[in-house]
Symmetry: C2
Subunit: 377 residues, 2 copies
C-alpha cells in the first residue's frame, strides 16, 4: 500500500466558472473530483466484480448502512475484517446512513426524536436506527466517509412537515457528530446532509447550521426524488453558495448524465446513483452518442458494437445484435456487459468533465456534450 495521509481533506485544484476540479484525500487513497461513486448497495456493485469497477476508473464506491445492518450485519462485517476486506475493495468507501432506505424500503416505520424504528424488508425483524447507532454501524463497517442519519421526506410536502424533518435532521447531525468523535478512526469523515425539500429558505437554514458544525463535507439530500431536473437545479442553486469552498459537496442519489453535467457546472463534487447498473440490467446503455435501448428490435441485426472507441470490452467488442439477443433472452451476460458499459461510461464522463475543468473549457464542453449524450438511439 502506498504512503497515505492519515487525515481527511479536500483540495480545490482549479475552478472553471462554478465547476470545481479537486481531490478528496483519504487514508485509503485520493478521490478525483468531480467523482461518481458506483453503488454497491449490499456490498456488491450489481453484476460487476470490484476489479471491473476499479478498471472502469472509479476511485470510491458507495455501500448502504440500511442493507448491511440487516444482512450480513455490521458486527459480522467487523469480525470479518471490515467492509473493504469483506467485499474486496481497497479504495475509499462512502456509506449512506440508512435514512433514505428506511423510508423507501421498509413498510413499517415510526420516527421520533430518538431515531427510526422499522421492520426489515427481508424478514420483518424489528430494528431501531438512531443517529448514534448509524455512526456505530458505519464505524463497524470501516467506512471512510460516513453520512449522518437524516429524515428524508417524500416530495411534494407541506412546508411545516419539511421544516420539522429538516430540524430533526439537524439535531441528529449534532448527535452523529458527538458519536463520531468518540468512535471514528483518524482520517475517517462524517458528512452532514442538507435537507429542506425545495424550499430555499429551509435549505439555507439547514446548510448554515451544518456549516457551523464544521463537518468535513456536506451532502445535499432529499433531491432527485421526483421533483424534476429544473426544480432540483434551482434548489441546488440555493444551497451551494452557503457551503464552504474548501470542503467537498455531494449530491446524493443523482443522476442522469445531464444531471451530473449541470450539477458539476454549479459546483458539485460527488455523486452516486444506481442508474448505470439498474439501466444496464434493463437493457439500456449509455454511450457518448446517446442512450441505446438494446431491447429495441432494430438492433437485432446490427453487427456494430456500442462504441468501438470505448475502453470497456462490453462496449467495444460485442455486437449490438448479440447484446440485443442477451437482453431479450434475459441472460445474466446481458446485465453483466451493460452494467459494465454504463459504469465505465459514467467514469469516462467524470474524467471528461475533470479534463474540461482543468483546461478551462467546461461550459463549451458541456454545451457540445449535452445534446449528444441525451439522445435516445
Amino acid at each position: 500500500m502506498q504512503q497515505q495521509a492519515q487525515t481527511f481533506g479536500y483540495r480545490l485544484l482549479k475552478q472553471d466558472g462554478a465547476a470545481r476540479l479537486g481531490e478528496v484525500v483519504t487514508p485509503r487513497g485520493i478521490v478525483r473530483t468531480p467523482a461518481f461513486m458506483p453503488v454497491g448497495t449490499v456490498a456488491t456493485v450489481k453484476a460487476l466484480t470490484f476489479d471491473q469497477v476499479k478498471q472502469a476508473g472509479a476511485d470510491i464506491v458507495l455501500a448502504n448502512t440500511y442493507h448491511l445492518m440487516l444482512r450480513p450485519g455490521a458486527e459480522r462485517v467487523a469480525r470479518l475484517g471490515g467492509l473493504h476486506n469483506f467485499m474486496r475493495w481497497d479504495g475509499p468507501i462512502l456509506t449512506d446512513s440508512g435514512g433514505f432506505q428506511v423510508m423507501s424500503l421498509s413498510k413499517i416505520r415510526k420516527i421520533n426524536e430518538e431515531g427510526v424504528r422499522f421492520a426489515s424488508h427481508i424478514d420483518g425483524s424489528r430494528h431501531l436506527l438512531t443517529p448514534e447507532r448509524a455512526v456505530e454501524i458505519q464505524c463497524l463497517l470501516g467506512s471512510d466517509i460516513q453520512m449522518q442519519l437524516d429524515e428524508c421526506i417524500s416530495l411534494p410536502a407541506e412546508r411545516k412537515e419539511t421544516e420539522r424533518a429538516m430540524e430533526l435532521s439537524l439535531r441528529w447531525a449534532a448527535r452523529a457528530q458527538r458519536a463520531f468523535s468518540d468512535l471514528a478512526k483518524p482520517g475517517q469523515a462524517l458528512f452532514g446532509i442538507v435537507q429542506g425539500g425545495v424550499d430555499a429558505e429551509l435549505r439555507q437554514r439547514s446548510a448554515e447550521a451544518l456549516v457551523a458544525m464544521d463537518l468535513p463535507g456536506y451532502a445535499v439530500g432529499g433531491l432527485a426524488v421526483g421533483e424534476g431536473q429544473e426544480l432540483m437545479l434551482r434548489t441546488l442553486d440555493g444551497v451551494l453558495p452557503h457551503l464552504p469552498s474548501h470542503k467537498p459537496r455531494y449530491l446524493m442519489g443523482v443522476g442522469t448524465p445531464s444531471d451530473l453535467i449541470k450539477s458539476v457546472a454549479r459546483g458539485v463534487d460527488m455523486f452516486d446513483c444506481v442508474m448505470p447498473t439498474r439501466n444496464g440490467r434493463h437493457g439500456l446503455a449509455f454511450t457518448w452518442n446517446g442512450k441505446v435501448n438494446l431491447r429495441n428490435a432494430r438492433h437485432a441485426d446490427d453487427p456494430a458494437p456500442l462504441d468501438e472507441q470505448s475502453s470497456c470490452p462490453g462496449a467495444r467488442d460485442y455486437s449490438r445484435a448479440y447484446l440485443h439477443h442477451l437482453v431479450r433472452s434475459g441472460e445474466y451476460l446481458g446485465a453483466m456487459l451493460l452494467s459494465w458499459v454504463n459504469t465505465t461510461f459514467y467514469q469516462e464522463l467524470m474524467a471528461a468533465m475533470r479534463l474540461a475543468i482543468a483546461e478551462g473549457r467546461f461550459n463549451t464542453w458541456a454545451e457540445e456534450t449535452l445534446d449528444r449524450i441525451e439522445r435516445t438511439n
Copy 2:
C-alpha cells in the same frame, strides 16, 4: 490464427485400462480429451464471459440448435458471421441438434417420420424440425461438431416404444448424413447418437448401425435422464465395446464429477452438462474437497476461501462468508463467481484425469479422488 488442419479427426494418445487420453482435431483447434464442454445454451455460458470460459481451460463449448433456431434464429446468426463471431468464441463449438430440448421444453409437439413439429416455449410459434433442417441450422450456425436429430424418450419406457424411437433415430441419422454431405464445410463433423434406453440389445443394434455409417464420432444419448448412475454405467458398459476406438465417444448431458470419472474409466472422451453453471446459480460450489452449499448458515462467518490453491479467483480470493452473503442476497455476483468456480473446477477435473491417464495411474487417482470430491460440506 494458427495453422490448423482442415480435416476433422481423433488421435488416441494413450490408454490406461479403458480410460483414453486423446485429441479431437478440428480446423478451429484441438480438443484435449477427456473433455468437458461448458454449455452455452443460447450462445452464452450463463453468468460467464467466454474469456472466463477459455481461462478456465475449456477447449470447446456446446450450444443448442433448439434455442438458437427460435432466438435469435439460425439465418440471423449466419448473416452476423456465424455463431463463433456472434458470441465471441474462437475455439470449436459442438451443437446439439435440438431433439432433447424439443422433448423437455416444448409443451406441444408431434413426432412423425418427417420430423418433429412443436410450439416454441418462448412465443408459441410453430416450427418443424427435420433431420435435414437440423443439419442446415447447424451449418448456418457454423458448428464444428454437429449432432444428428434424434428422438429422446423419457425413462422408464416400454421396450417397444424404446425400439421405435431408436429405429426412427437411425433413419434420421442416415437422412442427416446425406444432408450433411451436401451442406457441410471441410473439417466439420456430424456425430451419430446411440439410442435404445437402458436395453442392452437395442443399444447394441443402434451402435452397430451407426458405426456401419462410418460417422466421424459417436454420442451416447438418452442417459442421465433419471435412471440413476448404476444403470447409466451399466448401459454405457453395453454400448462402448461396440464403438470404434479410433473415433471420439461423447456421453451427452453428463454429469456429476463422479459420473465423469466413472465414465472416463470406461472410455468416454467428451461430456457436457449444465450442472456446473446451474449449481453455481443455486449456491452450490464444487471443490477438490467436496461440494459446498453456500446457502448454509455455517458459512456466514467463515473468512476462508473455497480453495486457496485454485487458479480461479472466485475460489481463491473471496471468503465463504462473502459468497454466502451474495447467495443469500440473490446477487448477480454470487451466480457469477460460483459459475466461474464450478466451470473452472470441471476443467481442472478433466485436466487431472488427462494427467492421470498420461501417467498410467488413472484407477489409483480415481479411487483417491472420488471419496474426496463427492463429500458434501
